[in-house]
Subunit: 701 residues, 2 copies
């Protein structure tokens, strides 16, 4: 009998894991055995240098560095070659060190395989970087003349993947086959393969297509890119396709870092500003769907080009993409006519997540790049709502959390780990400055802050790009002239008008208050309030707030509030523990004013948090972590969605929420403007298509 | 406790299966339970009428028809509606009949689910029609307003497939999603789905891509086409991509019938007549591979257009395609540079079967149509050889079978169920009329038969399109004028020249024989034989056979014979039981002359059979039966391939086979023309690229 192999003690910092391994094990393997994943692209071939570690002590509790070296195999020829090209100081390559005695090792953060990044989300959640696409380096056996049958270079690559990475049944995108032999030649039989590793949990969906040998496993892999020799760099795009704005984050899929963010207006806006008008365009124009589909694909191609150019890459470097959007955006992205979403029963063409080739959508990324579209929940509650849930994760909280993502429509999520409810509410684009006489998007020159003196009723404002308050007598430079009012400015002006008594609880201009305004800034019931004199505007025209503007804000905020209250009523609660305001709008508004205006339900002000683009963050999470894609698919089936459009309680809440602040039964005279419950009868539906007041629109628009 | 359900006896003809089933079972289901598959597209919804059966007796052994009806449920409203539209006489729909007593049923051939067709192959094999693509009819639940989360129309289609067809985890090509809701509307919530049902045995390769729910099964299905209501008709193309000729069979995938066959010249011929010259073109022209790839894809699109137009269909109706070809054709089809196939070790880029979307190859069939490319065996032995094996199935025979498919290169297969050997041999295009002074392809006007009077040495011939023998004094019409000599004519003329003593066993014109020709049809060693006088040719030029023509035929037939002998030598046998001559060439030549010339080894003449386009038949078998695709993948690994190019025995056999008939050591003076064994050294390889005599070409060309 042979001698039993001696074992050595290893401890790994900062995890603190320790244990014993047989002498002769490499540090890379030893760490894996003890549950610590050290990064490696080359799989232990001393090529990538990703597995650098620091040797702290030869054997613990105490020793010096020299003796530590004696406890590891010395630097061999191959490691020496690597060190000659790269200065790694006192560090060693974990794959090159055989353990010969007890050692204490530190794994620096950059060598830890499971990178973690902090999401910008309200909850400061940590994202495990575990993308669907990664790179592996292989050394491929050269062909021989007396090869047995059925062996080509691809089969020898499969052999290398099985032997060197324990990856079986790897498939290849057939369009890559022309690149295989040239890469083998150039790389002298070494390759870096970019692999997509889908999972089939919610299934049917994510298996790779292409040739391979062996039974299909639960997890399947597909080669997406073949590069000669050792190569590094794999990138993805996370895109939130909003009705109005499309935002793309270019991410390094190895580190999780956001390398560039680019935004553009959704070019579909020219076919209709809100969702309902795009549905109408699709119905009325024979080429409408195709045009809107091409428009958004074109915008995505532009974003990919710009975001990659920002950091010296090209769209060819993008291998994975995650897309989120509301159901109408989702359908138009896929070229599906959204007409069924325009009327009861609001049938989605598909709810399930979609995995497909980017090229099949006309996306000009890498030839083999993949696209993952997050699932929809229901006809009005789409992948964007789910993305918000991924980002804010109410399903992982004990607190009762209300998430409101204000866009052209509002995504509303309420719940905790017990249950999550969600809905979309038709706020319309007023909060984004549309449907407001002098409304505009947030941009330099837009009024974002407003104060009205309660005595003189004189206003002052701040414009984006200038820190100073400006009133009618302030001397300003041309660039400080106001161009219009953006969303947060509108909230403040309406709240200030109310606080100053210029408008009443019903939103109407007060004739009585007119007398208190020595400079006659407004004229009673039919009038409008002059917010900025013509001397202080870019257009040399007064910027005013009209009765109709106030009405539009009332309708929008009522829809928002009613949606939130509807979910709370379903849940049977009166109060929430925390409110998360998502979206650019949420970042800019003052929670104080949101509360005055009655946008959000009652909550401790310190518990009202703004988080920015949560849908985009959710898309980024799904891009960086393939398990979160599974989680999204699970959530789509688990969460409960509430149909705002057909719930009579929504109408009640909506009416009740029109006042300033919300007051039930305060506005009997407004009732004529309010939507009746949708019955689904053809007459009602066709009416709805023609008489489209904003609040009556059956889809959030 | 409830009464036990009574059981009824059923017997099904012509299979003779019998057994008992619970009363109330439909005949369709009862037959399935007893192992008899009755066809049904609508799945028992009395829509498709495919399950018609005849009731023979009410209960057996004996009864009359009236009592038979009492043993089955009467015609209900739905069946009556079907009968009003279709006259089905005394037949019943099996799905509409519940079994109430003992019955004897006949299942007519057209109602049997497993259609069988007789292959044209030598062995009259029966092909089970079991294609990868089939149609199913479903009735889909309409969306409801209070649908739970994650339910779209696609999910309701999945639900219908699971409930009505026991098909789970069906995926959909995402590009079809836009067609789903319009089809549901038009079909009033009924659809006919065309499904691809791949199998993952040789795996990694055949899984569908697209969304779905549930764990991935071993067999996966993908929806390829959505049609409203009930629809019928699913078609496929089987294509043999030859170096010279491309042949496409359009098949009805339900019945297995060949609806149309179209052939065209491979447009790559303009880039090089044989394989080696195409490899050279790829090496020398930067755009060479792309040009040849586009050329063949264009030809396939033309064939698809023509074949479908022949029967009033369009390429949009084609959902599946099987392609076979030799390794160079295979690689160019996929856009792969064949340069590695041009020199040792002749490395294939890929051997495995390939499943992909037709659109990814630029094929203009149905948007979602699939392509299956049969596997390669080795660098010189491709998918076409495997197709020949599928068609002739030596691996299922007890007899020792030699299959020779003569094209621009010869595919040679030898074996029986114990072992199968295969090889390709570089015959060159001489047998197809190329490299012959007056050679031409088989077409009207081509000389196909030749006789030479052994006394006068005067010739007579037959041309294609005319039954009469023609000699120099025959009065003929213009259309009977000879245009050239086709493959079978060349075999005969060389054999007759030899038999008449005009050429010797070494292939040289005999000076002695000149004297025996009173009309001086040839002139000794340097001369040529005038086969047709200028008065009898279409060009008014003599048609002659030159010394060089004879030499080319000698080289080609020696390569063919040497390949066959090489396999026999490997197998250790001197004689085969049966010879199958495949390819158009095999159909036209007279086995007698093939034997005189020494094209084929010794065999009883009655056991030499011509079978036509075996590679095309093999492609058709793989198109019609998905299990045969698995079989091909299994064979690719199981069969033993012999490298003719590097086997020194091949050279020996080749030299030995140059004589008429084959005689070893008869041609020492020809040795300078013979190929040396390939060593793989760069010098030899670059030489080979420049000095390309036909026999020296390392790949069959």
């Amino acid at each position: 009998m042979s001698e039993p192999t001696p074992t050595c003690q290893i401890a790994l910092m900062p995890s603190g894991r320790r244990g014993s391994v047989p002498a002769g094990t490499t540090l890379l393997e030893a760490a894996r055995l003890l549950g610590v994943e050290i990064e490696s692209i080359c799989g232990g071939r001393q090529t990538c240098g990703k597995c650098q570690i620091l040797i702290e002590e030869g054997h613990f509790p105490k020793h010096n560095l020299t003796s530590a070296l004696a406890h590891l195999s010395p630097i061999d020829e191959r490691e020496a070659a690597y060190r000659q090209l790269h200065d790694i100081g006192a560090r060693r390559l974990a794959c090159a060190c055989e353990v010969l005695g007890d050692v204490l090792i530190t794994v620096p953060e950059e060598s830890q395989a499971r990178k973690q990044i902090i999401s910008k989300a309200a909850t400061d959640r940590v994202i495990d970087v575990q993308p669907a696409v990664r790179q592996v380096y292989v050394e491929v056996r050269a062909a021989e003349l007396d090869e047995v049958g059925g062996q080509g270079d691809w089969e020898r690559v499969q052999e290398a993947l099985a032997q060197q990475w324990h990856l079986n049944n790897v498939a290849i995108d057939p369009l890559l086959l022309p690149t295989l032999q040239p890469a083998l030649k150039q790389g002298k039989h070494t390759l870096t393969l970019t692999l997509w590793q889908g999972r089939d949990s919610t299934g049917g969906s994510q298996a790779a297509e292409g040739p391979g040998v062996g039974a299909r496993p639960a997890n399947s892999s597909e080669v997406l890119r073949i590069q000669p020799g050792y190569a590094e760099g794999v990138y993805g795009l996370a895109v939130d396709v909003g009705s109005t704005t499309v935002v793309a984050h270019l991410c390094d899929l190895r580190t999780g870092a956001v390398l560039a963010t680019e935004a553009t207006m959704n070019p579909q806006v020219r076919f209709g500003e809100d969702l309902m008008s795009r549905v109408s365009y699709a119905m009325l124009q024979p080429q409408g769907v195709a045009r809107m589909h091409r428009a958004i694909i074109g915008a995505l191609n532009d974003l990919a080009r710009k975001a990659t150019a920002d950091v010296g890459l090209t769209p060819e470097d993008v291998l994975d993409m995650v897309l989120v959007g509301n159901p109408v955006m989702h359908h138009l992205l896929l070229g599906i006519d959204p007409v069924e979403l325009g009327g009861a029963p609001f049938a989605l063409a598909i709810a399930a997540p979609i995995d497909m080739k980017a090229r099949d959508l006309g996306l000009k990324l890498n030839t083999a790049a993949r696209v993952h579209v997050l699932p929809n929940i229901a006809g009005h509650v789409g992948a964007d709502n789910l993305a918000v849930q991924l980002a804010e994760a109410p399903h992982q909280q004990d607190e009762m959390m209300l998430v409101i993502d204000v866009g052209t429509n509002a995504e509303i999520v309420l719940g905790n780990r017990e249950q999550v409810l969600c809905a979309s509410s038709p706020t319309g684009p007023a909060f984004e400055g549309a449907q407001i006489t002098h409304g505009q998007r947030a941009a330099p020159g837009a009024i974002e802050r407003v104060r009205i003196d309660p005595t003189t009723l004189e206003p002052r404002h701040k414009v984006i790009g200038h820190d100073e308050w400006i009133d009618s007598v302030t001397a300003i430079t041309a660039s400080a002239r106001a161009t219009g009012i953006c969303g947060s400015g509108i909230i403040e002006v309406v709240a200030e008008l109310f606080t100053a008594g210029i408008i009443g609880a019903d939103g109407r201009f007060s004739e009585a208050a007119t007398e208190r305004s020595p400079r006659v800034r407004f004229k009673g019931r039919t009038g409008e309030y002059v917010l900025v004199d013509s001397t202080h505007t870019a257009t040399s025209q007064e910027i005013v707030v009209t009765q109709n503007d106030v009405r539009n804000i009332q309708l929008a905020k009522a829809a928002l509030y009613a949606g939130a209250k509807l979910l709370m009523r379903h849940k049977g609660i009166e109060k929430v523990d925390r409110i998360v305001l998502a979206g650019a709008f949420g970042l800019h508004i003052d929670p104080h004013y949101a509360m005055i205006l009655g946008l959000i339900p009652d909550c401790e002000l310190s518990k009202v948090i703004a988080v920015g683009n949560a849908a985009g963050d959710g898309a980024r999470i799904a891009l960086l972590n393939r398990e979160q894609r599974q989680e999204a698919a699970r959530l789509a089936l688990w969460v409960e969605h509430i149909q705002t459009a057909v719930d009579p309680n929504f109408q009640t809440e909506f009416v009740a929420a029109l006042g300033l602040p919300n007051a039930v039964d305060a506005f009997p005279h407004l009732e004529g403007l309010l939507p009746a419950p949708v019955t689904g009868s053809p007459t009602r539906r066709s009416q709805r298509r023609h008489v489209r007041t904003q609040a009556e629109s059956p889809i959030p628009g």
